[in-house]
Symmetry: C2
Subunit: 389 residues, 2 copies
């Protein structure tokens, strides 16, 4: 029995439903942020992140900072790039535009390589772009929350290492870490930024970053100091290293409650093989995508190899808009999200299938949502037909 | 009966002890950050902040952003100052040095006006400084968490308005909002930055800012765009205005759980006259300060008019260091903090007396802490005497 009161199942692409124990950790009694018990909790949390990212290189550096996923962009732009640097932003939707904005804020020149909606830049296009100009780093949105498009990180990273070996590979994993595999070391990734509230299954409020030894070296050899203060690794790196070494340290006050919740969910995640977790997400995703196809609906990500495993962006039947459908889903106890990609926001809805809704065998969120989607769309169609008479 | 398990009373100058209801709000079930229920909660929270700051000017703009108090500095440096601007930083301890660092990060020239440890810059010194150079803004730490020094905001603001009327008045209220009076409108303040985890009584993880209509106008007439992305008011202002108007809006995902907790504590705070709240803090502070004097100990803030009402920084007897005393207090069930001011960190301890520990009549935290302090110091003295033999 859940200790949470009855409520509609939150099946948007983040925040997601939370495990009872994780939520209870949010109510942890007050502790000093520099006292031994919390230092231990924070240190263990950082160490568990290494497992989640599958990195065993001691030079890799995790960061957990109060903020949202967006703060990860500032960390990249202000620590890994310098004013005047060129960076290449692979564009799969809303989030690349914003990441590019962030770079420009810090005086970094962002070149976007855009794919048509629902697709991702192809490797040969990336290769061509990398040969045309020297880029300090390349960013890729692993799963674009606005389109449900999955990018292929391993082959992309291999390509970058071959064609432009000095270019750092930065992955926006806000909607992928915890539900899509990331082999940080094996794939040669330099930085992944993510947030607490998606497939990691912790309430929102934490910016989570993993940086490679190579990224840290690049940071340490900057010509100018970091261009953000709150997001500066110069300020945070000693703090993270001290916490992980069990030593109290202070730059800005962390959120003990959120860190406790992150500790709880990471303990759960790392207690089973990661491969099982990713397989569970693939299986649930296949079920959702089959149901969507059975309803005669199409995904924004048309090609199967482009489709994320933690969410599905679904085109509505012609003439139907999110406000026609979302309240009918809510009535049936499930919350989906509307469109986010500016050009087509009124034409589609988003279904998040991540975390406990997928991995907890006592939950039937996904099955209920599939039924609700079918019934809700049917009801909306009937209403549309009636109003068209 | 508290629903929290037995634990040592956290009496550091933030985070502080939390009310049961506030902590329970941290476990709120997952909600969409753009769904009607949460939009209402967030909107009401912003409106209650106006009450806490005693501002009725509709042009005042509250901000609540995931982050720590430090993010407020970035917001000031990146939105209210421009690269090349001069700003005057009144120095009462550790936090002015860091705020100045933050300004320099954003290319803003910070001039510090320093006071001796335990004191604050005097009005005639401030007047002289303001007459020497044109400053875009002046910052003052209302209560310096490193020294327990209270600054006098009303007369300072009056002086700035008289001597340099174009200079914006920025108050670092991280350790003052909720326990020291701030009449935002009446005193003519332009910006107060604070955090959730001190006298506001909400767990850490939120940066809270109130900006005046004048500050917003100054921001809107910038020559260059804001120099932070995550901390940019250009990105956040429409979001805050929409939430307060009951309209969903998205820039970066807020933390619904933390905002619920903030909503709960602000509901409690604004349900009684603010004057009573400030009086309760003054009363508890007087009790603590009398006990400190009775023990023959001195405060860092020697002059009564310099002494904060939410914390006390206490010099230890000569030869005694925080590690001699803090474990003896912990053994007695109370947690104090060590020194933070770099030059004298080993010579003093800090006692926070804010929030429910002061306002909840069912709690005896302060009385217990006073007894523990007396007994702990005595025990430490005996140990020192023994080892000196």
């Amino acid at each position: 029995m859940s200790s949470q009161p009855p409520h509609p199942a939150l099946l948007i692409p983040g925040p997601i439903e939370f495990d009872d124990q994780v939520l209870q950790s949010m109510s942890h009694f007050s502790e000093s942020h520099v006292g031994a018990p919390f230092v231990k909790t924070f240190g263990e949390t950082l160490t568990m992140l290494r497992k989640l990212f599958q990195t065993e290189d001691p030079a890799s550096q995790p960061f957990v900072i109060s903020g949202s996923g967006t703060l990860g962009w500032d960390q990249v732009a202000a620590n890994l790039a310098e004013p005047g640097d060129d960076v290449l932003v692979l564009h799969t939707g809303y989030f690349a535009d914003s990441f590019a904005d962030c770079f420009e804020t810090y005086g970094v020149k962002a070149t976007q390589l855009k794919a048509p909606i629902g697709d991702r830049p192809q490797l040969d296009e990336v290769e061509k772009a990398l040969k045309e100009k020297k880029y300090k780093l390349l960013t890729v949105t692993h799963v674009d929350t606005s389109t449900g498009v999955l990018s292929e990180i391993e082959s992309l990273s291999k390509l970058v290492h071959k064609v432009s070996p000095e270019t750092l590979i930065v992955v926006d994993g806000v909607c992928s870490v915890g539900c899509e595999e990331i082999q940080f070391d094996n794939w040669g990734i330099d930085c992944v930024i993510t947030a607490s509230q998606k497939a990691i299954g912790c309430p929102a409020g934490l910016s989570i970053v993993m940086a490679s030894g190579r990224a840290i070296k690049s940071f340490q050899s900057r010509k100018v100091p970091p261009t953000s203060y709150f997001g500066s690794w110069k300020n945070w790196m000693p703090i993270m290293q001290n916490y992980e070494a069990g030593k109290p340290s202070y730059f800005a006050t962390p959120s003990p409650q959120l860190v406790h919740a992150l500790h709880t969910t990471l303990t759960q995640i790392t207690s089973v093989p990661l491969a099982d977790r990713f397989a569970a997400h693939r299986k649930a995703s296949q079920k959702v995508k089959k149901a969507v196809a059975d309803l005669g609906l199409e995904q924004l990500a048309a090609k199967p190899e482009n489709q994320a495993n933690g969410m599905t962006a679904i085109y509505l039947p012609k003439g139907m808009t999110p406000p026609d459908v979302l309240p009918k889903l809510m009535k049936r106890g499930v919350v989906f999200a509307g469109g986010l990609h500016k050009q087509i926001a009124t034409q589609y809805i988003r279904f998040g299938h991540m975390g406990v809704s997928v991995t907890d065998p006592n939950r039937d969120d996904i099955d209920r949502a599939i039924v609700a989607l079918k019934d809700g769309i049917t009801e909306a169609q009937q209403a549309t037909d009636l109003s068209a008479r």
